[in-house]
Symmetry: C2
């Protein structure tokens, strides 16, 4: 397969460039990137004239079954939202609801250019089934916690082990993490168990970390030491994905720098839950890898990584007055290569490079009425971040397979998925 | 004309409601709002099933000829942006460029649901011509300032007087403001002249006010008193539209409360220029009217008021931690009725009410793949603010005239307007 004549987003050294090159895909791999590649006989050619061709977007923190919570519970803080709104409903969710809700989110993700998601939920066999049927790339887990007692906690651990042990070893698209919910919902016992499992199975850890201000004291009360020290105590030497990381002070940053970890920044969710703004500019200046996530639709509104990119770039102007700060090029890297690094998948995905798996999206920037916000298009990268959204994505390729082409799906049937939620 | 079966946004007391009512428009006026209105013979009926019907959006601060600056100069502060980037280019702009650029912005506005814009620029006859041809509602001006000398300043004043004196008195869609650029670019002499003109012609004043932190000291140095005192000195008793108002302290708020003024909040522009976040929650709690604007595309990215609504609601979570703050219902009012009040046009526009001019937009929320971010749609208002954008607007009515219906234009020819900017 050949993608011709596109404006291709290429990472060179620390820069993000737009190059007019063609991309040849052989099986699932990006075989060649060069100017003016001639198609072989009978080779499929995708014309990307007036399109942007970029790495598929990597959502490093989501709860994909939470599509059913979209648009609910505005104006809550995190604890009220979890304790009074979300957890009581989640306790009654059925496997079928989780399956259907996951399919809805997968449709949302593929149609808005996300090619890999790092999920954090339960009934994870259902989520895996939905992802596998859709041929979507994902990191999945079964969340662990013990703030509701020992028996429930042990059930969760057994569910995680069962999920992992029943994996399809031939499916390279689905990988796994060990996911203690957070340091304020897990005792040392669960965290130690999570460490043990991460080492045993050689998996990364995925955990909520300092999302809201309340956690700072609560974690100290529960564990006797500051949050970043708890993290270091249990997960030193283990690759750890920290969701949120809004409330880091300089001491926390120094501790994190000694660890193998990075941050999944979820700006929309943080704003909607009144958690204020993570200083991702400072994290980057300190060499901490920052990637992007959407969180679930209940807090983050949607799974559109273009919205996350835009917000991640803009929001730094809310805390850095007349100062150097992250911008549109950083946002693109956060949503792609930084995400691949955070998930430990940078050898396979995150950039358009020869030898990597072909996770590629094609974004419509044709100068017409639909794209009026892109005209004039004097700076493609700036416009891509600030003036497009997931609706501009027209083609999504995962592992060399075209899952959506000009918004037509290969496997998913949008009407069938959507109809279950019309009178929801 | 009859708009049937829509989900109509109605303001009741302090609340924002969604009602299933029909709207009858006679000539340019909303004649009747009621359930199940029967069409008269030969009456045009617009079916709004699965649509939101809402007041046209009012952009209270823009520079519509600045479409040509879209996507440029990321990461500047306000002064660098103005002095080194924008003003040198503006000095060379031609009337034709301003006309074409205005037409591009008008296409952007009508297609994204803005029915009235409060502009702030020069070559204003060209802007007026573009607006008049498009049948768009607007408040226009010729900006005044004297930081480049007396002669240039006097030319500007004469151009403003000429603009106003040559107005078409039969055109009720175009009204005028007197617009000193800002308190840091205008001496007391120009401000006094602006006051005189505002009183003579009975016009509101439209001025940039405390957008960036640098202004606080600069205004004190130039005028000898704090910015809000300067404002009070020259514009007390005059209806005044304050663009931005980011840097207000409690003393400023107390002074503004004694005046006839309100704030045009431009969240995207403020973030992009590193001006931080206006505390609109506090302003509202103090009884100050807050409306919304986009600013020009050079700082604000685009003129899409849906993006401004979303950002205005979200951004308050960046400064109000676990506190009550503005939300989606406030954002809708800021973009409509509050805008009408700020422009002094609340008797005519800003809400769907019997007797008002019919400035109405119809927004597609059909549950399909394009609207995947709206599914499930359990809260129409929340979804409208957080999960739509201007591309969801399918019909725009200004003063009872359907200017765009299902994205087809009555007067404008999108291809003709766009083609001038393809190789721009």
């Amino acid at each position: 397969m050949l993608i011709k004549n596109g404006n291709v987003i290429i990472f060179e050294a620390d820069d993000v460039k737009v190059k007019k090159v063609d991309i040849k895909i052989k099986d699932n791999i990006i075989e060649k990137i060069a100017e003016d590649i001639k198609p072989e006989e009978n080779e499929e050619v995708i014309d990307a004239t007036n399109k942007v061709v970029m790495p598929g977007l990597i959502n490093t923190h989501a709860h994909i079954a939470m599509s059913i919570f979209r648009g609910t519970f505005e104006g809550c803080d995190l604890y009220t939202w979890l304790n009074q709104k979300i957890w009581p409903i989640e306790a009654k969710l059925t496997k079928e609801e989780v399956y259907n809700a996951s399919r809805l989110s997968i449709l949302e993700m593929i149609s808005t250019g996300t090619t890999c998601v790092n999920d954090h939920y339960f009934f994870s066999e259902e989520i895996r089934k939905a992802l596998t049927e859709s041929k979507m790339r994902a990191v999945i887990t079964r969340v662990l916690m013990d703030n509701d007692g020992k028996e429930a906690s042990e059930n969760r651990i057994n569910e995680f082990i069962n999920l992992y042990e029943t994996r399809d070893k031939d499916n390279k698209l689905i990988t796994y993490s060990v996911a203690p919910h957070g340091l304020y919902t897990c005792s040392g016992e669960v965290l130690a168990k999570a460490r043990e499992l991460a080492i045993k199975y050689n998996l990364p850890v995925h955990i909520h970390f300092l999302e809201s201000i309340n956690e700072v004291e609560d974690i100290k009360n529960l564990h006797g030491i500051r949050a970043s020290e708890v993290l270091k105590k249990y997960f030193d030497g283990i690759h750890t994905i920290l969701a949120h990381g809004v409330k880091l002070d300089d001491e926390d940053i120094e501790i994190l720098k000694t660890m193998d970890c990075g941050i999944s920044h979820n700006p929309l969710s943080n704003l909607r839950l009144g958690c204020k703004i993570a200083d991702t500019t400072k994290y980057k200046q300190n060499g901490i890898n920052v990637a992007l996530g959407t969180d679930g639709q209940g807090s983050g509104n949607n799974l559109d990584m273009f919205e996350a990119m835009k917000m991640a770039a803009l929001i730094q102007g809310g805390i850095h007055e007349n100062e150097e700060r992250l911008g549109s090029k950083d946002a693109i890297k956060m949503a792609t290569i930084n995400g691949a690094k955070l998930l430990g998948l940078e050898d396979k995905i995150g950039s358009i490079e020869e030898g990597k798996d072909a996770d590629i999206i094609i974004v419509d920037i044709e100068p017409n009425l639909t794209n009026i916000k892109l005209i004039p298009n004097k700076d493609i990268i700036s416009n891509l971040v600030y003036n497009t959204d997931g609706k501009n994505v027209e083609t999504t390729i995962i592992n060399g397979e075209v899952l959506m082409e000009k918004r037509k799906f290969k496997y998913l049937q949008p009407e069938k998925i959507i109809e279950k939620f019309i009178a929801f």
